[in-house]
Symmetry: C2
Subunit: 219 residues, 2 copies
């Protein structure tokens, strides 16, 4: 190992994360954030290096606290991409008795989507809703997943413990997030969303992890 | 299925992607991009909804064409997160005889990192380098992975077919990308990077996928 590597290797991941959050805190400045929402917003900025999330994050009242309760009681987290599932700290989630699943690659989901003329994302939300288990939905990709969840909530088929609505993109994305915010409010379900075009599977996973870590941090 | 859902379900993923790229093209305007780099930049914007990538993407000369050749000859793609691996279109990659791997969760990698006082990311790059197989490295998270690759190239242990250097964050990230750009140039290895703080596992996967899709699109 040469000197240069020694120097650079001194900072291990835990320390880098700590310093990163210090930099984020400093750059946010004296803006006051809700104490439960703050770690979520900061982790999203940490995962994206994008301070737009300081402006575009939506939280229904008490969403983070309610989500923390759901996790503590052992929730199922349903994602709309395997990428979001991969980004969730599943070891930490399991320590609360929870589990993360993604049904996007399931054959019955593909069949159902074909039969119903919808997307696999929408069909995978339906599959999850029909499990009738307490669920958090973390949607980082597909607007159609949010439209499906809206309809499922309105039909009384599902009452999510939390909907994370953070698809990214240019077509139907902005609308899907505004729709889910309203639908969640009508159904009395907690909701966290990133308004506008931005979001992604990485953002969805960061929001889940921020909720998991906050439970420990507040112990 | 109610009327609203019918209306929204009309746009299936392929069409949404097509329209999204049309919007991105329109918003980029009359700026001229290299024809091989353009689909990569656009897919990164597509995955992030962030036009900063129009400014911050670095490509060594001919990097995309060289990467396409590597993929066509059946390359191994090594990622520094399972999330990046999850985001790569592995079916498409397999159609060229390629494979994606991530060694981050391997026990021998954890042991080696502990023993050498480095990170798992760095140890997983070393493990990949020692396979002595033609490799593309896709690094979306860990600056230490890029520092390790720099050292491995300088020691002559590895000569990557492409390095994708797109860690995201606030500590050592900017520096790691500038370092890998220089080291890749010295070693004569193709390199694609996102200068500055931005990047991520999603960006790394998007760059890989853009390369895969471009091979088909140019047939």
């Amino acid at each position: 190992m040469d000197k240069r590597e020694n120097k650079e290797a001194v900072l291990l991941p835990g320390e880098i994360e700590k310093r990163s959050f210090e930099i984020i805190t400093k750059e946010i400045g004296d803006r006051t954030l809700d104490p439960f929402e703050e770690p979520v917003i900061k982790r999203v900025i940490h995962t994206s290096a994008d301070f737009d999330y300081l402006e575009n994050m939506y939280f229904s009242p008490g969403a983070v606290e309610k989500a923390m309760e759901a996790v503590k009681n052992g929730t199922l987290i349903v994602t709309d991409t395997n990428m979001a599932k991969a980004g969730i700290n599943k070891k930490k989630l399991a320590s609360f008795g929870g589990e993360a699943v993604c049904f996007m690659a399931d054959e019955d989901v593909a069949r159902r989507a074909g039969k119903e003329g919808t997307t696999r994302a929408a069909a995978s939300m339906k599959k999850a809703a029909e499990l009738k288990r307490p669920c958090i939905f973390a949607v980082g990709n597909a607007p159609t997943a949010l439209f499906a969840l809206r309809d499922l909530m309105e039909e009384g088929i599902v009452k999510p413990q939390l909907i994370i609505g953070v698809p990214v993109g240019f077509v139907n994305v902005v609308e899907s997030k505004e729709e889910i915010i309203k639908a969640a409010e009508r159904a009395g379900c907690p909701c966290i969303a990133a308004r506008g075009r931005k979001g992604g599977s990485n953002v969805a996973a960061a929001i889940v992890n921020a909720i998991l870590y906050q439970i420990d941090d507040r112990r």
